[in-house]
Amino acid sequence: MSSASGAATAAGTKPKLAIYWAASCGGCEISILGIDTKILDVAAAFELVMCPCIMDGKVRDIEQLEDGAIAVCLFNGSIRNSEQEYMAQLLRRKSKVLVAFGSCAHEGCIPGLANLHDKQAIFENSYQETESTENPQRVRPQTATTVPEGTLHLPVFYDTVRTLDQTVDVDYYLPGCPPESPKIWEAIQAIVAGNLPPKGTVIGSDTTVCDDCKRIRNVKKVKQFKRTWEIIPDPEICLLEQGLLCCGIATRAGCGALCPQVNSPCIGCYGPNNDVHDFGARLMSAVASVIDADNPKDINAIISQGIPDPVGTFYRFGLAGSLLRRSKRPAGSDGGH
Amino acid sequence: MKYAYYPGCSLESGSAAYDVSVRAVMQCLGAQLDELDDWNCCGATEYFTQHELVALSVIARNLALVDKQYDQLVAPCAACFLNLKKTDKLMADDPKLKAHVNEALGAGGLSYKPGTVRVRHLLDVLYTDIGENKLRQMTKRPLAGLRIAPYYGCQVVRPLNGFDNTEYPMKMDELFTWLGAEVVDYPVKAHCCGGHMTQISEPQAFELIRRLLQSAQDYKADVIVCICPMCQLNLDAYQSRVNSEFDKSFNLPVLFLTQLVGIALGLDWKKVGIGKEIVSAEPVLRQRLLSGAGA
């Protein structure tokens, strides 16, 4: 552990930048490219030491760096297997600043929805039950295979997807699925200028999507929740008031209210606002408060009819990062110990 | 509108007029009644005094027989209605009883989950499902001028009937005003007709029957209307005995609800079973409803 080169050190050795992906879709990398020609500024400011998406980098090269040698690591993707966990630990050690980049690293995102199942169920589905699968021998991925040359390893697949900060210590968070390019550029600029907020900060706005949404808002009372295909919403009026479960009320601003702009309710990809511990719980609390019914029967009718998939609705992006993190595993399932 | 139909034993025999008129009226109103296949007797009141579990199982068998495509079972007889409804409720309230009854049903390969079938009395269906608008629209021959004494009896007004005031029912009264009749709001409309007392103690039974006939006559009713075969039987068949016992000269025809509804809908009198009653209704119906022209 030593004083490696920081963002603003001597000329000649440019600070090192790493971009890594764990369980993710690659959208975050695309969004980085979305900063357009400014990518040249990034190239001028940093030496890119790792980015599996666009360049051939070797883990060994990273391992051989001194601890803290990387100035900034933008880590996207959640942690779903042992290799990803190893890379998270490695990059943590080698980086001065580790940024949970994008929704997957930040709060689990879509991969995190797998936490409604466990490894066995996922394997059963992926390697057996899907229509296109033919697997009469019931072959499953093995973590170790012996070949004449020795033993080959595959990463161990976990029961539970974890966020980056459930795995290693994280310095900053950049929300969004993916983070919007202008926000990425702002963050990079802040890093280059050494103008960093306190550790643990989610870099972004501290209001919610409603702040950017131009729709007319009124007092809310919801008698019926509607699915998006059921109505053509009025383009002028708050979508929630029209019965669409728009997550914009609870979702951190930063996207510019892209979805509501095109008549589609916010699905919450920017995650919770500051001080919210559990995005889904907060959203549930807010939405339930304005249900227009006063007895359990009517309330339940409104809920069960309008919100058939509550986890997918309230925890679409945040299940792994939520307080409960996952669904209850069946008794006797292979956990712990 | 589609219902499973439970006629009950009486409607197959003494009260055939009720059965034919129910079917004719419902068809005319566009409601489909499909008779329950292989139904059995509801046990009336007798089974319950013998063995409650057996009685409930016998009744529950009918509920178990209702095909999945029906969620409602209609009974025109007040006693059948009460028994079916009561069984459903008792099974829902008492899991042990439910298990016992289902054990019994199991012997015949059946089972019943309480709450799956909604038991309805025919009056409720006419009043609520068909409703005022439709009945008024469909009325071809208003019952204007006919003074009707609706008689509810004691079975349909039990607390769980779910559609009418249990102390002083009014739904049939209202229904007949829609059809243009003059309804007699007489005080004994939910008093007992004597039921099976005619077989046990005639003096008691006849006194009960007398009170009903007397009150209806005091209020100048032309005709009494029933929704229960037992009531109709007692008031109609024993009327002459009551007359001789009490030195009276009651001459009050006693018809079923659907017979008069049928007439108002313009159905053929024969088709709704007019003429099957003992105290003939024809004279007063002719006098009040027709000016000479035959039906």
Binding site: V59, R60, E63, Q64, L65, E66, D67, S82, E83, E85, Y86, L116, T143, H153, P155, V156, Y158, D159, T160, R162, V276, H277, D278, G280, A281, R282, M284, S285, V287, A288, S289, I291, A293, D294, N295, P296, I299, N300, I303, S304, I307, D309, P310, V311, F314, S322, L323, L324, R325, R326, S327, K328, R329, P330, D334, G335, G336, H337 | -
Partner: protein
């Protein structure tokens, strides 16, 4: 932990005006009840954020009770209706997450209903006892394969790491 001596840990969120006073009354009247519910006072059941419930469960509580004034008798006019709506939505979600419905319960108790509150506490404790411990954080644990696999990778890469670590 064996079922027989399992003593559930339950967090109870009680409103200041009715249910907390009902618990006070149960005390004054010496109505004994199970010691498993640990009470957190809030001003109104409407203050109970579903987050509190999830937090308690995730930290290791085996059950949660939310108690408020009877509907129509809320000290704050009708805020307990909001608690009711939130509770039902939360239950809907908890069901989807596999949490047994008997672990989280909404109870109404007026300030005069010490007996009823004590019974509700005993009822909830008995039901949670039947269900056994929840031990939520154990849900997150991976089996031994995980540590083994990490060791394998580290061993494999040890050579490289030693050079510069």
């Amino acid at each position: 932990m064996s079922q027989t001596n399992f003593e559930p840990k339950i967090v109870g969120f009680l409103c200041n005006w009715c249910s907390y006073r009902a618990a006070d009354l149960a005390g004054i009247a010496r109505i004994t009840h199970a010691p498993n519910v640990r009470i957190v006072r809030v001003m109104c059941s409407g203050r109970v954020d579903p987050t509190f419930v999830l937090k308690a469960l995730s930290l290791g509580a085996d059950g949660v009770m939310i108690a408020g004034c009877h509907p129509g008798e809320c000290h704050y006019v009708d805020q307990n209706y909001k608690a009711m709506r939130r509770y039902h939505l939360l239950k809907h979600t908890l069901h989807a997450m596999g949490v047994e419905p008997d672990r989280v319960r909404l109870v109404w108790a007026s300030a005069a209903e010490g007996q009823q509150l004590a019974e509700a506490i005993d009822g909830l404790v008995a039901d949670v006892k039947k269900l056994g411990p929840l031990g939520w954080s154990q849900n997150w644990e991976e089996n031994g394969e995980r540590l083994h696999a990490l060791e394998e990778i580290i061993n494999e890469h040890a050579e490289a790491m030693e050079v510069h670590a």
